[in-house]
Symmetry: C2
Subunit: 235 residues, 2 copies
């Protein structure tokens, strides 16, 4: 089933964007009368029928809407430093969207090798993963900010900073309790500096390990996301 | 610390391969007297000193060897159908090597969109991930075989087939018990056929779900690997 993203969709007649229309007609080669699925990115999945297969402005008739299955009673928020090779962060965004996440904050820190990202391109990757994995909710991607700014922001829940340091004995998998809102920070290739870990601790973050394996930044992010979702399935 | 892979390494004087020597001198720009780490891929990590920085045949003096931390008291074996886009399987191999895995079997099945892989190229990706994540053990990558052949092979442990079917209520995270040897099969983009699932069941495989999210093949593989490693950390 082909899935389209349309934030303002509701039951009745709706118009796809030019980009989505082109995709519908030119890529999927869909025709009038074909059934499609629409996600509004805000919790609803809808059944629809293509009533006008125009490559610039497709018209759909949305026949029904239901709440998606991708809801959970906690907030899962990851902060991550973009990698030097942007493809690795793009992969991370695709994977955590598939696995299930609420919010992602990109930050630059002392050892970051990349301080600039193309936000619109990263958002497109998330939208594409939402459609591919038929999610009803679009994860929120926050604009790149500084580490210092991010650690000072309010967050109502457990706050962790994943740190590759042999003195860290607490692991996320043991420390996190199912049901808790959680914000986890994942450092850049060169890891966090001691000063950054100190600042995070002063702002209520607990340093934790993700286990004994040495993981790349994007792998650590995926493992952290999957750990929280798994621990909540075990509850 | 730069890491080199040398299967026959032992304490004393050793020679790097031409490829590793080139990497050592041309890419890392290492010089005589520099400290390096060597993995033999068979459980040992070694400290060594570069005694001859020759781009064709570097000589190392291995001063000590110790057992790596990447041992666990169970076997984790994944069977996976290569994806149409080979980069997705390459990415999977890198990630499961980082997270920790014993053995990977590639198989072609009814709905496989790819029936050929370049085995040597995939092995290189695993070696590279072993070095990058400082593993002492090289995961075993089996040659591509047919699904029918793989499900009939002997395996001493729990056998699962991950299947995207709404009738499957058992999940890997609930069913697997820490400490068990495990073999998990992950299907291609078009999933397994009913006939394949039947054949697997006849050969002792239990159909399970990886949760409510619709995951791509490579994501399912990473999630399955991480699930087993996490459940064993919780033990």
């Amino acid at each position: 089933m082909n899935v389209f993203y349309l934030p303002e969709a509701e039951v009745g007649s709706v118009l796809l964007s030019e980009e989505e229309s082109k995709h519908c007609v030119r890529v999927f080669r869909m025709q009038t009368g074909d059934n499609v699925c629409v996600t509004n990115g805000n919790g609803l999945l809808m059944d629809a029928v293509l009533v006008e297969a125009n490559p610039k402005h497709c018209v759909l008739n949305v026949t029904s809407a239901k709440r998606g299955a991708d809801f959970w009673p906690y907030t899962l928020h990851l902060g991550i430093a973009p990698t030097k090779n942007i493809e690795r962060i793009e992969w991370f965004l695709e994977k955590v969207t598939e696995i299930g996440i609420d919010e992602i904050s990109l930050f630059s820190s002392m050892h970051s090798e990349r301080k600039i990202v193309r936000h619109d391109r990263l958002e497109k990757i998330i939208v594409s993963a939402v459609k591919q994995s038929i999610k009803s909710r679009l994860p929120k991607l926050n604009e790149l900010c500084s580490f210092n700014e991010l650690v000072r922001r309010d967050f109502n829940g457990r706050k962790y900073i994943a740190w590759i340091d042999e003195t860290i004995k607490d692991t996320l998998v043991i420390d996190y309790q199912a049901g808790e809102n959680v914000l986890i920070l994942i450092g850049p290739e060169g890891d966090f500096s001691h000063e950054e870990v100190d600042l995070a601790e002063k702002n209520g973050f607990k340093p934790i390990s993700l286990g004994s394996s040495r993981l790349r930044t994007e792998t650590a992010g995926i493992v952290a996301c999957n750990t929280i979702q798994l621990l909540n399935q075990l509850k």
